[in-house]
Symmetry: C2
Subunit: 539 residues, 2 copies
């Protein structure tokens, strides 16, 4: 840690300092690495508890795979496998001898003989009742059956593997791509599923916290005679990769794609339905992808294999990286663009680094800035005051709205197809809005409303998608839910909001989805442009 500004303090300070000695231990300034920050606040990235960690890991891997395949215009093929690993197996993996309990009373789930007797009697009664109900053909909540003694501590471990046909990773970049928080290639201004440069890295941090096992990455280019393999984890304190193995292996089958594997603590029992729901919904919104999902364990009856076939070869266009809209930039961003631009003078800078500023409009803007500006002045020589002037004019001047060309909605056809196929619906109406704008970011809202269907519950069933990812949590606060529940008069469409099986599908795409939180779980209700567009799309 350097001392920052202290070098700038005048000389007399040093004298003063020697007179008033600092008390020791009074204030210990600590600097945290971004990796430490996210390790300690993992809930803000959707890693709240072991079950949700498993869910979010799957989700991040799947969404990375889709982004990756789409970025090279490949129809995505994604295979996710979750393998349950017993504690004994886990311990043998890390070379730890599994020990029998010796001092039984030390354990949280320790029962005295008497307590055990009482519990078993209670369980027997519960089973009797259940058997009786079952014979009557009634369903009893599973919870009635005792779960037995559940120690708070017994962790469940899972190996999560995700394999895709996406973009290869340059061999030498792999450690830095995975072993640093806040590093990544997704930082341009375009529509992507992931956005925070966290994604897979949170899974890596969680594996360090829960199992201590590194992740494994394999990647191979088309026609490449080797597979890049890397086993690594993150040095959390320094936020740098810690590489165990990084090598080129023979690529016998000329395999092409990427695979990532991580061993984490999780909870399949409580998150099974969320994960399966997620996979099915992703199939709805991504009908041009092929998914294979497997859950493997020692108990064959618990195992799951689900395949979602590709239902169309029509893939939405690859989202383009776009320039900033002048009305959406802040002071910091203008300064950064000035630092990074290759343009020399102010006129070229305005014309080329922003959308919707033509050469003649740039000239008018410069004229309006005042006498100390001129088109030929070196853009990198602008003073702070001058940059404020540019910023103020950007905020006040009129610009055409950005176009939605850089966006890639799932396509009305795809959304309709996905909904019909997955939910076995009777009727579906879909609608696609034109591009609109908030804070200089274009967005498009598409909606589908269905009535009836096999797998749909009574009442409103709301399905929310943003940049083609599914939003599952925090439904109550989301702009889509609130609009569908409160701002739509369903009866005017002859729909009974309580009894009919209504499906509402809303998909929003934008270069900037205003998620609340990095967990990417819901979109705030407070952006009126989006709320209005959602309303009209559903209508």
């Amino acid at each position: 840690m350097d001392t920052g500004g202290s070098s700038e303090s005048p000389a007399e300070l040093k004298k003063a300092k020697s007179k008033t000695p600092r008390k020791p231990k009074e204030s210990i300034l600590k600097q945290k690495s971004p990796a430490e920050f996210f390790a300690e606040n993992k809930n803000i990235a959707g890693f709240d508890n072991p079950g949700k960690c498993l869910y979010t890991t799957v989700r991040e891997f799947v969404e990375n795979s889709l982004d990756s395949a789409e970025s090279v215009s490949e129809l995505p093929v994604v295979e996710v496998t979750i393998e349950e690993i017993g504690k004994r197996q886990f311990n043998s993996m890390i070379g730890l001898v599994d020990r029998e309990r010796v001092d039984a009373a030390l354990y949280d789930d320790y029962e005295t003989d008497k307590a055990r007797e009482r519990r078993l009697a209670k369980e027997a009664r519960a089973q009797e009742i259940q058997a009786k109900y079952a014979s009557l053909g009634k369903k009893v909540k599973e919870a009635t059956a005792s779960k037995g003694i559940k120690g708070r501590g017994e962790a469940s471990f899972y190996r999560v593997t995700c394999k895709d046909n996406g973009k290869e990773m340059p061999h030498d970049d792999i450690p830095n791509m995975f072993g640093r928080v806040l590093s990544g290639t997704k930082y341009g201004l375009k529509q992507t599923r992931g956005k925070f440069g966290l994604s897979a890295k949170m899974a890596l941090i969680w594996s360090k916290m829960s199992t201590g096992l590194p992740i494994e990455i394999s990647s191979a280019m088309k026609g490449q005679n080797y597979v890049s393999f890397c086993r690594l984890d993150i040095d959390i304190h320094r936020n740098i990769p810690h590489v165990y193995s990084h090598e080129k292996r023979k690529n016998k089958d000329r395999w092409r794609g990427a695979e990532i594997q991580v061993v984490i603590e999780g909870n399949w029992t409580t998150y099974r339905s969320k994960i399966l729901h997620y996979m099915r919904q992703m199939a709805v919104i991504t009908p041009y992808a092929q998914f294979l999902f497997k859950f493997l364990s020692d108990a064959p009856d618990k195992n799951v294999t689900i395949r979602f076939a590709r239902r169309t070869d029509v893939m939405p266009p690859v989202p383009l990286e776009m320039k900033h809209h002048p009305s959406s930039v802040d002071l910091l961003l203008i300064k950064r663009l000035i630092t990074e631009t290759t343009k020399l003078n102010l006129l070229q800078f305005l014309q080329h680094e922003f959308v919707n500023i033509s050469r003649s409009y740039a000239e008018r803007l410069i004229g309006e800035m005042g006498p100390d500006f001129n088109p030929k002045m070196a853009v990198k020589s602008l003073t702070s005051q001058q940059i404020v002037r540019v910023h103020q004019l950007f905020r006040q001047a009129k610009f055409d709205d950005p176009s939605g060309d850089c966006l890639s909605p799932a396509g009305e056809y795809n959304l309709r197809l996905g909904i019909i196929k997955e939910l076995h619906l009777d009727m579906v109406a879909t609608y696609s809005g034109s591009a609109q704008v908030f804070e200089g970011h274009p967005f498009i809202v598409k909606a589908g409303v269905s009535v009836g269907g096999k797998d749909v519950k009574q009442g409103l069933n709301i399905f929310r998608f943003a940049n083609r990812i599914l939003l599952l949590f925090e439904q109550g606060s989301d702009v889509v839910t609130r609009t569908a529940l409160k701002r739509i008069n369903w009866s005017s469409y002859k729909i009974n909001q309580m009894q009919d099986k209504i499906g509402v599908f809303v998909s929003i795409v934008s270069t900037k989805i205003p998620f609340k939180g990095t967990g990417k779980e819901y979109i705030g209700d407070d952006i009126s442009e989006i709320a209005a567009a959602v309303k009209s799309a559903i209508q």
Copy 2:
């Protein structure tokens, strides 16, 4: 940026590399500083839009001041001033000549003469109507009066100043305390209002984005003959302080305390009521503090001065820093504790670095770990496998719950006092639970229920506090709201949930408040221990 793990790659990689030249521009790995991350995702810290930025800035300053005064056992005295700064004044502050519009058609709020005529006619009509209603003594929504033409762009600037009698800051530390994101002194395990080491720094980042003006900090110790003064901002890209001025000034009046001042874009009009509400609620929960709030502008009728007098000298005890509970630590944390401990052997480490492990219990635990462990072994020599074994045993073994001694609830007396005084209530019942535990973190829930009162609306009015801060946003998702609305049978208390004026006050304190998001706006509904405790406290 260094290359991280690539130094560890075997020599043959270098040969392979020369054969397959990397494509240029294919993947550009970027590394972001934590300051850049939070600048780009400022909404996760509660800086969603200019209005909310103003609100969150006030809130962070007030909460820092309270924490600071309490940490030195001073009864807090906090003065917040918001000064509105017109654009002309702002420009003169930064040395920018205010320019008249020349090319009027360039502006977003440009009206043709015809449009202007139409608007003025409409406004005149609206005013007539309003005058008519006013003469009838009726109140008309202000919105009916036209706000005139409202350009999207016209920004409002505010100088926010917060002065307190809190802990002084060591002169040399000031730049690093404010000029780095993720650096701070609040990282110990204890109950604090702030937690992320962001707080004031987000205001600093927002000032850089919106006005480009640095912040100013003054701080003086008791009996110190100088005031430390520092003007600085953050070099966002490098996450280091950029110091404009750092000096010791004469302290004539022997002032003691701290003052922070920032100039930011904001929106008083839309956030006025939220900010005033916040100040009033803080007075409820902090009756031992004295608050002065001022809003100053060029229009004297808009100005606000509110003083909340101290109503008690009883201050809750200062929260203590506490050791970790063995059932709440993860692998990473155990490794960090091993790195940082001054204890030499395993026995001492277990006994002194955790709560609720006595010497004899530590011996039993070590016995249970297996034959390759012994009490005298050097704790820093533990292998990764051995640490996993310790972790597993921590998860499975039984430990007493942590005590609530380290917590400092507002005190039942204080809560009751605050509620009665501020809301002019008819009746209030308060209850304080005993310390409970989730994931190894102790928490205490206190609740108050009031009926009637002067400033209370009909129906349920829910006031939520966590570690003595007020939660204003995302009310619908919070555990307190959900419990009060859905899990309490009000009629059994002879209370009509719809018609009576009911106030529900719930305060939760813990060493770890499971906030969703860094905005500290709500506590998730998914932690059953907390939900149950809230329910029983309200009952």
